[in-house]
């Protein structure tokens, strides 16, 4: 009986709930981007008047290379941790073999899979950097003063899927609970992304391109 319930929860989470999640995640991002594009055409001619491919690109690329900017070099440990945090955050869910097997079964397509030992290592690195980011937020006064309860919540929401994922994989703790928890928390995270500061996963590129136009294309000044 207990098994039947756990099974139906799993089927719900990996079925209709997942479809709902992906619709909200992708649809939400599309809506947000579409709205901002529409708004920018009405109210922000300054974005388009001085657009420059090369300055926009430079403004983005310098910030995608570790320690390539004066700002990152001013806090090298934090920026290094932030890079690891983001690399693990994106690579583990996409290239985990368990995820790819599920996609292969469901859609007949999958991505390259990394060895499970790598996934374990990257997850541990991710959790370590998350702790670092959290501690920094509490310890440094100029960051603490900016931080609201929602910021801590978002760190938790980002971290918990990884924590529950690695626990489930290694069958630590109650597996029947850990696996649905992992899926549910991951779905919550995906749903939150389009409607929170985590939208920077796409908006980063646009805000960076703009400052590249503004400082670089108009004035020849670096924005990195």
């Amino acid at each position: 009986m207990g098994n039947l319930t756990a099974d139906s929860i799993y089927r719900f989470l990996s079925g209709p709930a997942l479809w709902f999640t992906m619709t909200v995640f992708l649809g939400g991002l599309a809506l947000r981007m579409g709205y901002l594009y529409w708004l920018s055409r009405r109210k922000d001619p300054v974005i388009y008047n001085h657009a420059s491919f090369s300055w926009g690109l430079k403004s983005i690329l310098f910030w995608l290379i570790p320690w390539a900017t004066v700002s990152m070099r001013s806090q090298p440990v934090f920026s290094g941790a932030a890079f690891l945090f983001h690399i693990c955050l994106l690579s583990v869910p996409l290239f985990l073999s368990a995820h790819n097997i599920l996609w292969e079964e469901a859609f007949g397509v999958s991505l390259w899979s990394m060895p499970d030992a790598w996934a374990d290592a990257l997850t541990l690195v991710f959790l370590a950097t998350a702790v670092f980011v959290l501690v920094r937020r509490v310890v440094r006064p100029e960051v603490r003063i900016l931080t609201s309860a929602w910021d801590y919540t978002l760190i938790a929401l980002t971290t918990l899927p990884f924590l529950t994922g690695i626990l489930a994989y290694h069958q630590m703790g109650p597996y029947e609970l850990m696996l649905p928890l992992h899926i549910a928390l991951s779905e919550i995270l995906l749903i939150v992304i389009p409607f929170s500061k985590l939208g920077h996963m796409l908006l980063f590129f646009f805000s960076r391109a703009f400052i590249g136009f503004e400082l670089g294309a108009r004035r020849g000044a670096r924005s990195w």
């Binding site: 594009y37 900016l146 500061k197 805000s207 703009f210 503004e214 000044a221």
Partner: protein
């Protein structure tokens, strides 16, 4: 962080103007495009901007002075409250926007998302202004601009008379120096800061001497000659637009090829970058070409139109103050250094420099706001004072009136023992006087 209570009481103690939420909402709505919405919503509160800010660094890293904190508690709060403010909030916003930020844009370099905090502080200034929260002096200057097109309310006769007498006086030293007024079809329409007319006519003379030495085709206009834009800094966007429009139109009427700007920082920001938007040009480009004096000086020296006497080059250690609105926000840091190479033997750059340079602390209105605000700008200028001290320079070249006065004050406050000079002053003294300007040694014999 100094307590501004006394000043706020003096400025706003008697103000009991009603708050005008619809007006505030209208301004917030006009500014609330995709950029500001994106910036507000993606700031991840990482705090990296703090280290970029000279106000934060100069005031013992007070966490309330990080750019992210400042914008959140000014413009951010304005959006959250949807225009429903009280006076106490607006005074706090005033303190942030005028006493704690000079809109130098340095934090945009340090932000991983490139958030343009300076533009958001400017928007918050617009809201404050609309609610009557204005620096007394800046408001007065704004009214002067409305009446006369220049912030000191000088009638054209006074400008013309001053130009006449300074030109006459300089005849004793150089021949052939005149200050043409409203000459049509010239290369440069030369525009200045009204304080030059009242307090520092030497600056006008120096410009006339240099332009004459280079055999330039130029004029001053009898109207539209004030290149500063204190209404913009006061937060009056509409009047700020009219102020630049005066110059654009006059230059077109005169058929001048360029508007030439004196050694002033924010005039460059206003005429080249913000002005076209304030005045409503949809393509964001000024309708007339604009040139800053630093660029012109570089061209004269490069082309040999003005030559420097090697004997008269500055020999002592010299450093250069990159004004925010000329370097990072004006793109002229290299030409300035190339010009200095002609003028000084021992040049020592500050660190950081060029587009990374720190603001002096006198910018974006706080200097013309008057002596009450002096303690604030001196405190904010500590980083600049330390930068200058570290170079060991005895002369600081500052091609901006605000930097010039601020560094002069910093030198006294922090015992720097430096002399601040403009390019014009240095070149007038060091140039080889061309044939056509020499006065015959002994006209009688």
């Amino acid at each position: 962080m100094l307590d501004p209570r006394k000043i706020l009481d003096k400025e706003f103690g008697k103000t009991d103007l009603p708050i005008d939420p619809p007006k505030a909402r209208q301004i917030l709505d006009a500014h609330g495009g995709a950029r500001i919405r994106t910036w507000m919503s993606i700031c991840s509160r990482c705090g990296l901007c703090a280290e970029s800010c000279f106000v934060y660094l100069s005031n013992d890293r007070d966490p309330r002075l990080s750019p992210a904190y400042k914008v959140r508690h000014s413009l951010g709060e304005m959006y959250r409250r949807k225009g429903k403010f009280d006076r106490a909030f607006l005074e706090k916003a005033y303190e942030i926007c005028w006493l704690q930020c000079t809109m130098c844009k340095r934090c945009s370099i340090y932000c991983p998302f490139g958030i343009d905090i300076a533009s958001m502080i400017m928007a918050a200034r617009n809201v404050c202004y609309s609610q009557g929260v204005r620096a007394g002096r800046l408001a007065e200057f704004t009214e002067n601009c409305r009446q006369s097109g220049n912030h000191m309310n000088l009638p054209p006769e006074e400008l013309i008379a001053t130009c006449e007498w300074v030109a006459e006086e300089v005849q004793e030293e150089f021949s052939g120096v005149g200050i043409p007024i409203d000459q049509p079809n010239v290369q440069y329409m030369y525009t200045i800061n009204p304080r030059e007319v009242v307090f520092f006519p030497q600056d006008i003379t120096d410009a006339a001497v240099l332009l004459t030495a280079a055999r330039e085709s130029w004029t001053m206009p009898s109207f539209g000659w004030d290149c500063t834009n204190l209404p913009m800094l006061a937060g009056d966007r509409e009047m700020g637009g009219r102020q630049v429009q005066n110059l654009y139109e006059k230059a077109r009427d005169l058929g001048a090829e360029y508007i030439l700007i004196t050694e002033c920082g924010h005039a460059n920001r206003s005429l080249v970058y913000e002005g076209p938007y304030m005045a409503g040009y949809p393509d964001g480009k000024p309708p007339v070409k604009i040139k800053h004096f630093v660029q012109l000086i570089y061209e004269y020296l490069r082309d040999g139109r003005i030559r420097i006497d090697p004997q008269k080059k500055l020999t002592g250690p010299v450093t250069y103050q990159d004004p925010c609105n000329i370097s990072r926000n004006g793109g002229l840091w290299e030409v300035a250094r190339q010009a200095i190479a002609y003028l000084a033997e021992d040049f020592r750059d500050m660190s950081p420099n060029r587009d990374y340079n720190h603001c002096c602390g006198g910018g974006s209105g706080i200097l013309p706001m008057g002596p009450d605000y002096k303690p604030f700008r001196l405190a904010n200028g500590r980083v600049k004072a330390e930068q200058i001290k570290a170079t060991g320079a005895q002369i600081v070249i500052a091609p901006c009136h605000n930097c010039y006065d601020q560094i002069h004050d910093l030198s006294e406050e922090y015992d720097l023992g430096v002399k601040v000079m403009s390019f014009k002053e240095i070149i007038r003294e060091a140039m080889i006087v061309p044939e056509h300007m020499r006065i015959a040694e002994n006209p009688d014999g």
